[in-house]
Each structure stands twice: as C-alpha cells, then as structure tokens.
Symmetry: D2
Subunit: 438 residues, 4 copies
C-alpha cells in the first residue's frame, strides 16, 4: 500500500517547546491525551470508496485530527497573537474571538494578543485604525452579543503591506475569521510570510453564513442563521393566511448556495416554494413557477415563498427592466423582482403580496447554544494548531470530527446544495415543491 | 352643579334580561360586583381641570366604566354574534377573537358565534367568502400565533350591503377589530342599523399597531410591537459597530404617529436618531439631520437611526427624484430615501449603511404576556357591553381603567406624540438627539 | 374650598440653582416644559369621589407630578450621588442603575456617582465592601442583563452607621432600589439625615417583583416577571397533557400578593387553578380544592395549577407534618405541600404530578421592552426629583402618570389583589375556577 | 477480503412492490436516487482502524445508509401504521409524529395512521385508552409546541398483549419514539412478531434528552435541551453575582450521562464547576470539590455549579442522612444534597446559595430549528425504512450521515462522556475546573 495520501498541513518548523498543557499520552488515566501527528481520519466513508482503495492499493484520503500537540513551536512568553474578522456579520464571531483570547491566555499563557480593527483594513496603516490589546476581561461578555467586537470590512488589502504590519507588531500568529475571500487572503499572507521566511503562523476559521465553504460539515453561525430565520417564516405564513390569496416572499441569504433557505424551510414547514441558486427554474410556462404558484393559491388561498438572494439570477439578466436601469441596481434583488413578476402575472385573481428581507436581523444575531459550543471548540483547536507551528490551515468539522485542512483545499470551489442529495429531496418532500419548475 | 357631562354610550334599549353571571351587588362578599351605569370615571385628572370645573360649576367630563351589567339586552339562547378583523396584522388579534368567543360561550351561554372571513369583504356576498362557525375548541390555541385566524382585508364595503348580510344571518352583535377606518366603518354600520331600527349592537375593539387611536392609554399589540422591534435595534447597533462609520437605518411602523419608533428606542437605548412623523426636520443645513449625523460619526464612528414610516414626508415631496418617477413609488419609502441621501452626502468620508425594514416581522408576531392579558380583558369587556345592549362604542383603557367610549369620540382625530411631552423629552434624553434638527 | 390635600413631598430646602436642562416654560415651542410645583394630579378618579369632595367642600387628594424642575437644590459640579440595590433580584434593576447614572451625568453634569455594593451591607464599613465609581461607560451595556450590577443583600443595617458612611463619602443623593423593607430603611435614613440637618436627599425606586407596593399602578419588573413566567405555564400544560391525568403545579413568586400568579395565568390561558395568598381555600370538602381538581381530571384528564408562594399558609400551619418536622422547613413550601396532598388524595385514580419552581429564572431575567422603557423613565424622574432637593419620596406611576409620593405613604400596607375586583374576576373567568374553593 | 461485516437490519421479506416515489437511479438528472442496499458507510473512520482492517484482511464495520428504496414491502392502500411515544418529554416529539404522518400520507399514500395514546399503556386494552386516527390536518401545527400530542407513559406492558393489540387493529408498522427502555420494548415486540410470523415492522426513533443512546451522533431534542438550559445558566450567574459569595447550583438532566450539563456549560461559559455522573469526585479533602469551591469564592466572590441529576450518587449513598430518612427520598436529589453540604461546610464565611431545577422547562420546550430539521428527516427515513420492510431498527445519524442500525446494537450499553475525550477536555478548559476533584 502506498503512503497515506492526506491533506497535509504546512508547518513553520519542528515544534521544539514542551506544551504547558498538563495532558497525558496514555489511555485510562481519565486525562485527555495529546493528539499525535499520526492521528488521521478517513475523509470518504463510503464502503465503495474503501473497496476502491483496496483494489488500487491506495491509501484513502485522510485528514489531520485537530487538538493540542505535546510539542509546540512558539515559546509562550515570547509569543504575540493577532485576530482579524473580515466580511459580513455572522452569528458567533464574538464567541470565536473570546475563545481564541481565552485559550491563548489561560491554556498557553500568551500575554499579548492584539485585535485588528475593521478587518484587513486594520492591517493597512493607511486607514489609521489602531490595533487593540485584548485580554480575558475585555472579551468575557462579548459572546452574549451578535456582531463583531473588532469591527469588520469587506475586501482585501495589499498582502505585502499586511505582512509588514504583522512583522512590525511582532505578531507570531494571525487568526483570520472570514469566508472564502478572507481565507484566500490569509493564505496569500501565509505565502508571503513563507517567502520572507518569517515565523508567523496564519490560521483561518471559516465564517460564512451561507455555509458554502467546501469539504466541511458546516460553518459556525449557520445553524443560528436558520434558527433565527425560521420563526420569520412563521411570520410570513401569518401574513399569507391573513389575506385572501395572500403571498409572502422571504428573501434569505445565499449568494451561491441555498443552504439557509433550504434549512429554514425544513425547520418551519409552512413553506411552499424554496428557490435556491443551485436550481434552474422558469417563471412562465406550464411547469414554471408562476403556474405552480397559481395551483397552490387555487387549492389553499395562500402561499409562502422562500428565495435565496442568489437564486434566479438568470431571470434577472433576461429582463429589459435591468438593462434600462442605471447600474442594474434596482432589479438585482430577486425578491423584489419576484414580487413584481407575481403582481404582473396575477391580473385575473386578487393577490396580496408581502415581501420580507430579514438579512441583517439574521446576520447580527448572537450565536445559539449549538453554535456557541462549536465556536468555542473551533477557537480552542485553532489555537492548538497554531501553537504547534502549523500554518495556512483552517479548523473545522468533517464527518462530525474536528480536523485541520489546508486553506487551499477548502477554497478551490464553493459548497453547494447537491440537487440529487437526500437533503434537497427532503426540502421538496417537506414543501411539496415539484422536482422541476421548468 | 350641572349634570354629569359624559361620553354617553348609545344603547339599543332597556336591558330586560337578568345576566346569567353569578355576581354580587355588595362589597365584602369576595364576589365581583356588577357595574352600575352610575360608575363613571373622571377623564382629565389634573387638579387644574378640577378647579376649573368647580369655578364654572361644571361637572367634569366622565367616562363609562366597563364591565358586566346586572341586566342585559340580549337573551343568550337566541343571540348570534359575529366577529370581523380588518386592516393590517397586529399582535393580539387572535387573543381578542379567542376572548370574545370564550366570553360569549362560557359566560353568557351564547351558542352561535360567526367568524367573518377576510375583513369587511366577508360581509359582502360578492366576494363569496363564507362565514365560519366559531366555538371554544376552534379558538383554544389560536392565541399562540400571530396573524388573524379569520383573515383580513383593507378598505371598506358598502354599509348597506354589510348590514344586509348581518340581518340575513340574524347577527345580533358585531365585534369589529380594527383601526381608525374600521371603527368609522362599524360606526356607519351602527348608524344604518339605527335607521333600520334593527336590534344589532356594534362594538369596536381598537387595533392599531401605531397606537394612534385618540383618547385611549394604548391600543393592544402596541407593547408587543416595540418589544419585538427593540432587539432588532440591537441588531442594527451590531451592524453599525461592525463597520467603520457604520450607519444602520431601521424603518418602523408609524404612518401618522411615531410611538413605536420612540418606544422601541427608549427600550433599547442604542439609538442616536429617532425620526417621527410628528417632527419637522431638515436634511441639510448646519443644524440639519445630516450634519448632526456627521458629528455623531466623528465622535463615535457609528450611528443608529430609527425612522417611522410616515416621517419626513415633506422631504420626499420636495425632491426632484419623486417627480421623475412613475407613480412616485420609488421614493415614498423614507428609509430608502434617507439611505440614498446619506450616501450622497458623505462623499468625503467612508460610510457603510445598512437598511432594515422589519415591518411584517413585527406585525405578525404573537402577543407578549402584557398584551395577552390586555386582549383577553378587552374581549371580556366588549362582550359585557354588547350583551347589555350598548352599541357604537369601543372598549379600551383610559387612565389605567377599562372604559367604554363612543366610537365617534375616538375617531375625531388620531393620537400623536406631543413633542412637548415628557415622553418625547425622554426619547431625546435617551438618544442624545437635539430638540431640533432644522 | 379648603387647600389642596396632597401627599406632599419633603424637601431639603429652597432650590437655588438654575437647572442646566434647556427646557421651556411655555406651550407651543415644541420644547418640553419644566414641571411646576403646582402640577398636581387627582388620585381618585371616580366621579363619586368627585361629588363627595364638592359636597364636603374638600379638595381631592392630589399627587405631585414627576419631572424636571426649573430650579434645583444641588449644584451639579459639587454633587455626589450614590445608588444602592437591595433585596431579591427583579428584572430591570440594571436599567434603573443605568438610567440614573446616565441622567446624572448627561442631563445634570454630575461627575461623581458611587455604586454601593451588596445592598445596605455596602453602607456598613464592617463588611469591607468598597464603593464603586460609576460612569456611563461602565453601565452602558448592563441593561442587557438581568441581575444587579452592584450586587445586593437582604435585611437592614444600622441607620446611624449608614448615614455616617454617606456623610463620610460626601454623598448628597442616595437612590435606593428595593421593596417594602428597603423603602422603610431609606426613609429611616432620611429621618436620621433630617435630625442631623444634613443636606442629603434620599429617593426610593420601588422594586418588588410581587407588585405589592401600595398605591402605585405597578412596580418595574413585574410585567417582565409574568412575561417570563407565562411560557413556563405552557410548558406545564405540555407536561400535564403528556400523561394520563397529568397534573402540573407551578409555584410562582408572591409572598403576600398573587399578582404574578394571576397575571401569568391570564396571559397563558391554560391554567385551571390559580391559588393566591389573598384567597382562603380548603383542601378537603365537597367544594374544596381537591374535589374541584377531581372534577377537572374527570372531564379533561389533565390540570394545570399555579400557586403563589404565599398561598395557603393557613393549611401549612394546620398540618401535623409540619409539627413533626425539625424546624418546619420541609413543608413551608406550598408547592411541595400541594404535590404531596394531591398524591395522598388520589389513591383511587392514577395521577402523574410535575412540580415546577421557576423562581430564580423569573427573578434574574433581563427587563422586557415595556419594563425597559418604564425603568429608564423612572430613573430619569428619580434624578429630577432628587436634584430639585426633594427627599424621602418614591417615583412611580399612578393612573398612568409619573408622580412622586412620600415613602411613608406607600409603605403603610402592601398592595393585594382585591378579590372583588374585575381583575380577579377575569382570572376566574379565564381559568374556570369557581369563586370559592371552600 | 472477507464479506462486509455490517450491522445488518432485519427484514420482513423481499420488497415486492414498486415505490410510489418518483425518484431516479442515475446521477446527473437532478433527481434524488433511490438508496441501494449496497450503500454502506464505514463506521470507524480512524486511519488506524483502516490499516488494521487491511492488515487483517477484514472488511470494516459498515452501516446501512438510510433512505427510500426502489422496492417496498407494504402495499400502500392496504397498510396501517401506528405511532407510540413513551417515557419523559423531550423537545421534538411532535415534529417526529408530524413527519411520520406526513411522509406516510403524502409520500406513500398510506391512508390509515393510528396514534397510540399514553405510551405503551395505549397498547394495553386494560387502560381503556382509545387509538386515535391521525391525518395531516390533525398534526399540521403540533410541531410548534413541546410535549407529545399523543401523551406518554413510563414503563412497559406485556409484550404479548401489545402485539395482540397491533394485530387486532391490523397495524403493519409501529413507530416507537422513546429511549433505551422503549427501544428494548419495541425490539421485544419485534421478536414476538417474528415468532408469530406476523408481517409487522417495528421501528425505533431514539428519544433521549440525555443523549445517552450508544453509537449515534446525537439524539433529537438534545441540542434544544442545552439551548434551553444555557440561558438559565446565565440566570444562575446573575443570581450568583447578585450576592456576596453568591453560589448558584443548577441541576440539569442526565441520569447516567452528563452531556446536557457539559454542553450547556460550554454554550454559556459562566460555569465554574460541571459535575457529571461519569466522574468520580470527593466533597472533602484538599483536592475535593468543597475546597475548590472555596478557592473560587476567595478569588471571584461568586460561583456557578452545574450538576447532572445522576452525578455524585456515590456520595448520596455514603451519607447518614439517607439512612435515617424514610424511603431515602429526601436526599436522592444531588442538587439539594450539594446545597446542604455547601451550607454546612461554609460556616466561616457568609455564602448565599440559590438552587435551580429547570428540568420540566427544558423537557417540555418545542424543538429549536436544528432539531426540527433533524426530527423531520429522521421521521422521513423511519418511514422509508419501514416501507421497505425493514424491522427492529433505529434511524439515526452516525458520522453526520443518516443510517439504519439494529435496535439491539444501540441498546447494548448507554453512551457516556469519555473523560479522556477532547469534548470533556474542552469543558474543563472552558470552566477552569481541575482534571480531578479528589
């Protein structure tokens, strides 16, 4: 058999310090054991894949188990860490910040942790934002609130400038909390650091409310997102049933992936149509969305539609309306577009349409309990990996286990709903929506 | 002294049946006493008014105390009641429906209660909606949900047609749950009934999420409205602080009156500007809103703005933008208008603006506990008054007591925030907003 | 006519400084007016009382309107305030603390405000608790959490010692947040101050989760209390219906007054029995509680019982069980006692009993929106009154208006549910409980 | 290599009917594929296990993938299903009932589904409970509420009697929602059915709020349980900090396994001690719990303790107190016991102890969104498996995939917290509790 193929994590070098954690290396003493570099987990757990590997005499693709290592790379008293939060809000950011600060301080005795204000802007001196000293007292209660304690910004900054700032501030570890763009950014920072041969570890903690980071089970904040969204679907149902032929349209997050729309609809089964970016659908035609909506109204006198913000972009581009507009801002909103199309279409029967866009209400919510637990443990594992000198990795959960994965592997493409999956099938089953709306 | 001046309630005639309620007429037996028609409450409780009445030898304006009467007008086994809910959703409608059905059934033994579907439309046979038989089992759990169990519609129908429907269905009492227009409508129904000399009592239960019914302490659902809205202001604050010079604009209900915007801002003191319909304000100029916003950003780097939907209409009408638009739909939304104006104004400094419109989320929420209690008691009192043969009245709370008031008195004008009141002053104190933005 | 009889508030002396508030004294300028000492409000608003006053040529009892005065007693730059919170937790304490600190700082420019830790203990040097400097930054977010930022304790301390501490720390105003005992305590402090001719104003802000302070409309935190309690009644209903002859007993706060039990039961109409301290009831006998419960089980197969902690104390004292126990601790709990009695009684039919005591969950909740508004405005009015040199008063709402009342008047007796009131009648109507259980 | 070792599911016979589901068998058509009996998933995903299997030429242990089969065993128009819910309440039961009814009705066209009232009692005619006809209308809204729509009971009934009832009512499929005992019970029913050669499929849907069913990722309702419990820990923290040396003790569910206590403590990191059944701890002694508590109080002046109901049973048995008591009822409650022990121990310093037992509040809550999704999908999979003729299996999630497992495999032992796991380590890290309290 060949050697284990694996998503190997890059390291800054051989860990040469003893971990200050008082852990064990043997089973049976009721004390948690250090994780060994040999602790690997099979990625694809289908028996079919297993058989193929055997047949081909290949080792299966394996993932590195997350957790504290017996030897660490950074000498705690001389180590400075920094945390940056980028992109839009997502429930749980503050929990992750808190967890990282606590783990650095209490587990490893790191005395200097810096908060980078307003995302990558905070690593560019031109913006004049000042780095913030963090400590347990400052972050003790921040998990109770949504948002980000550090502030955020969208978009990137010069990689070279950002590395300069890290070097100038003697930062040894950078924790970047953000989505696809942020992770690519921090990977580029890691690459630049490597070129400069600087001993700085960069760690990504995937934050995407859309749950669209590839390979991983789920991103933090996602469960809270549909937990906050689903009662709003009940509200939409109340509005729809409150009028004759009442129609409620709820636009939820999801630029490329419709996980929030789909999950919220499963959680609050009052939804009749779930339109996601992954699906192709037609408005008109016998099997199109509008006729399906008509049938629903005929039988039940009300309908609830959930649409992901990235759904139906092909329809928006077709319309004349968009071409006329300056900067096509007006009709980029699929929710508003659907509302108008439905109004135009139902001239023969009275309809009352309510449009609800709860986007910021969902984004800025505090983490629910499940996400709080998840965020805390992600933070701890991020710290363990960084202290061991690993770099350019994300920490996440795969097959329900905490693992480290190279950033480059999770940013190759975005995770999308597989329309042939049992997940999407359950959405169709729950809503009564046909397999195809074309 | 002259006779008691009072808001006398119209009656259908002398109550000639004994109430089936087993109540008392004396104090000290631990059993609630029937309310006498002489139980009146002074409306204006300032000592100044009292002195004026004395000086002028006038009786003070008095209100009729709500509650069960010893003699009733309708003979329960022969009585049919109907309930109609009109206008937009508001928390607590289902609690009122439930309370009315329960009180009719259990307290008075009324066996036939009809639900009118989809508002006044349901009283117009042209729409083909059928009346629904209501009973305790059907309504037992409806208070757990927002919306209206009966459906609603906006606007009126022919008064004559609606009275025809009532007569045809042998309805003796009509309970109308709705706002200013609905109350005027049911009063007109009452007038038509009087002309026809029909023995039908009409009762209004003021429902206005804006809290803009005159004379009364508060309308049901209003407290829930700002209870649901205020955490959204916290969300807005999270969004605002999450970006450098982050600005959140939250549009809340309030066409003519800014009570929800003001109360929510008091409840969640993270709001810096509260713009209500009652106030005149300028965008530009040294003391205008935009410069005040600039000062706020300069000192704190973020701002939260709450705007009632009816605020700043004078600004919308001034703008060229509206004149250009077809049907002035685009800029009728003060929230969107403000967002655009702020974006245009701050060209010299970076700002990030988030716009949140939680309208339907607030309207469709279930009643909180305080409103649940209020709705139940309003419903009971509405039933007591109607059974006593009173008509064309609303039931509400004035000076913290349940009273009956003629519909015509509460629909003369809408209640608005008095800008010279302690209430508005407390909003300014809490937000730090200057007395004037002109 | 005689002079206005009124609950006059004691003052430290003539206010000799101009208020820093930029208010008005005329109507029509859209700026709030200072409150004049002549602004009085009639207490009893029954027309009957009005007529009696006329007949007897007496002025009606009047209350002093709360609000800012044009002239103030304390010179802001030289003024020190202190805040103390006593007794059990209640939703909204932190909102009041926050409101007082904000009003002192921003409205009047008071630079020194002290927090007294752990209730009256904090004014007794023996305990060694140190006074805390408060400022807007420290209290900005505390309203988001239940509990008290300052800590609390039960019971009193030597009045003389406490006044010594106030004098030693140059405190000019003491705000005491607490219930009946606390208010009596701060009144005694005020009396001692008067004896010493010290210029220290003492102000009470009534805090009683039981809502048992006399004369006032409601105490802060009370609405939140039954707002938090009422979903627990739904839980109890779920437990009761989840078993054959399922019985849930929920014990709620209310030592002398059953307002929380009664209001929560009105808010969540799944309750079949509401037992409060004000009512006398028997366990046994044809009309007693246990037979009434049997009838309920026979017809519906489940029952929900809400009992205030102070209810049925007469039963506890009768029982042999208590006499046998060492220190009668075991059976002082009416909830546990009822559970045992029901178990003993129903030997002929199977019953499943669940006992729920959510006391601390209710007490430690953060204020809901209505209470947040109330707390903030109470705090502002407390500061206005104190700055005007008033002393030994509470601020509260009567007849839906903010007023000042002498502490001595609200501590004469506790407010209780009037069993002959419409409020209690509505509880009986809602629950179906008979007027008498004896 | 040997044949696949697998947890094979028992079947009633060869599925001979075509599924009415319009699914696919090929990838690429955007339609979900039927699951094949060959779709198996590796259970142990450590690479170490993989290597061992290779070395030993053994197939790894595999699980059967859940989902709809192309051929089914039961002919829908002739099929009757029944649902029974047993044991204590747990969030999500109603969601599962709803999902099963909906899937039977809409996916497979089953026209007759019976609800068994009050658990296994409902299958014993002696109790006289009548089976309930279920349909989509009856269950449409039940997921909004906690509890069980069908009622429940604890304990078992004669297997033979229960099978008689199933046979008499022509039940073809029995869905049993319950914990360890219930699952063993339904397995015994399945065994008896086999003996009788009856064609009745029995399916278990594991319901254990304690999350103590072996092998599976998590049981439904568990996430909601700690989501409901964790804000109560915040309340406990408020109570603890509200008094000098304030100590709050919260008792949470967990007879044999401390997952709720541990997870809630991770979710709300205000907890200082987490005592679970899996750990051994001493009260007294230098390293015992009480001295650790003393250190905590000395440094922070407050402490929050979470104790699982099954923790510290070894201590209860030691005490004299229990021996004296009649029926050892008094001290079986570890929470009350701890409270008393702490009171006894701290005679030298003042402490204030608050004891909170939110058990029923947690159990009777409605499912949160994550659990709602989970419950719905479990229900669907349960129906798919049963329709395919599988029997004596549970449906659950393992390694984040839906699978079927023989009931006998998951009831061999209870799942417990591994004290050497990263999960427990994260609890210790988060709380600051030492590895050992002995």
């Amino acid at each position: 058999m060949n050697n284990t193929a694996t998503f190997d994590i890059d390291t800054l070098g051989k860990p040469k310090f003893k971990s200050p954690l008082q852990l064990s290396t043997v089973r049976g003493d009721s004390i948690f054991n250090f994780i060994s570099e040999n602790d690997r987990l099979v990625f694809d757990l289908s028996f079919e894949h297993y058989q193929k590997c055997i047949a081909n005499q290949e080792a299966p693709l394996c993932l590195e188990k997350a957790g504290p290592r017996q030897n660490i790379f950074f000498e705690p008293p001389k180590t400075t860490a920094a945390i940056v939060t980028c992109g839009g809000l997502c429930p749980g950011i503050n929990n992750v910040i808190r967890g990282v600060v606590m783990a650095l301080h209490y587990f490893y005795g790191i005395k200097r942790t810096l908060g980078v204000p307003y995302g990558y802007e905070g690593l560019n001196p031109e913006f004049g934002h000042e780095l913030i000293e963090l400590n347990p007292d400052k972050v003790r209660d921040i998990h109770q609130f949504g948002g980000t304690f550090l502030g955020s910004s969208r978009g990137g900054q010069s990689v070279s400038t950002m590395v300069d700032t890290l070097v100038k501030n003697e930062v040894n570890i950078l924790f970047a909390i953000g989505g696809d763009g942020t992770l690519k950014g921090v990977d580029a920072i890691g690459e630049e650091i490597k070129k400069r041969d600087a001993n700085i570890s960069v760690v990504g903690i995937p934050k995407t409310i859309d749950n669209d980071i590839d390979l991983i089970d789920k991103s933090f904040g996602f469960e809270t997102a549909f937990d906050v969204a689903s009662p709003i679907l009940r509200d939409a149902h109340n509005e729809a049933t409150g009028a004759y032929n009442g129609i409620s349209i709820v636009k939820l997050m999801g630029r490329d992936s419709g996980f929030i729309a789909a999950s919220a609809s499963l959680a609050m089964p009052v939804v009749n149509f779930v339109l996601v970016p992954e699906m192709d659908f037609a408005l008109e035609g016998e099997n199109g969305f509008l006729e399906a909506l008509r049938k629903r109204l005929q039988s039940k006198k009300h309908a609830v539609i959930v649409v992901a913000e990235g759904a139906g972009q092909h329809l928006l581009q077709q319309t004349d309306v968009v071409k006329d507009a300056s900067g096509n801002v007006k009709h980029a909103d699929i929710g508003v577009f659907l509302k108008e199309k439905i109004e135009e279409y139902f001239t023969d029967i009275p309809v009352t349409i309510k449009y609800i866009d709860p986007s910021y209400i969902v984004r800025s919510a505090p983490a629910n309990s499940s996400d709080s637990v998840y965020c805390g443990r992600l933070a701890y594992h991020a710290v363990h990996g960084a202290m061991a000198g690993k770099t350019r990795f994300v920490v996440s959960k795969v097959n329900n286990r905490y693992v480290y994965i190279p950033i480059s592997e999770v940013t190759k493409k975005r995770k999308k709903i597989d329309l042939e999956s049992e997940f999407w099938f359950s959405v169709l089953q729950s809503s009564g929506q046909p397999f195809s709306l074309k």
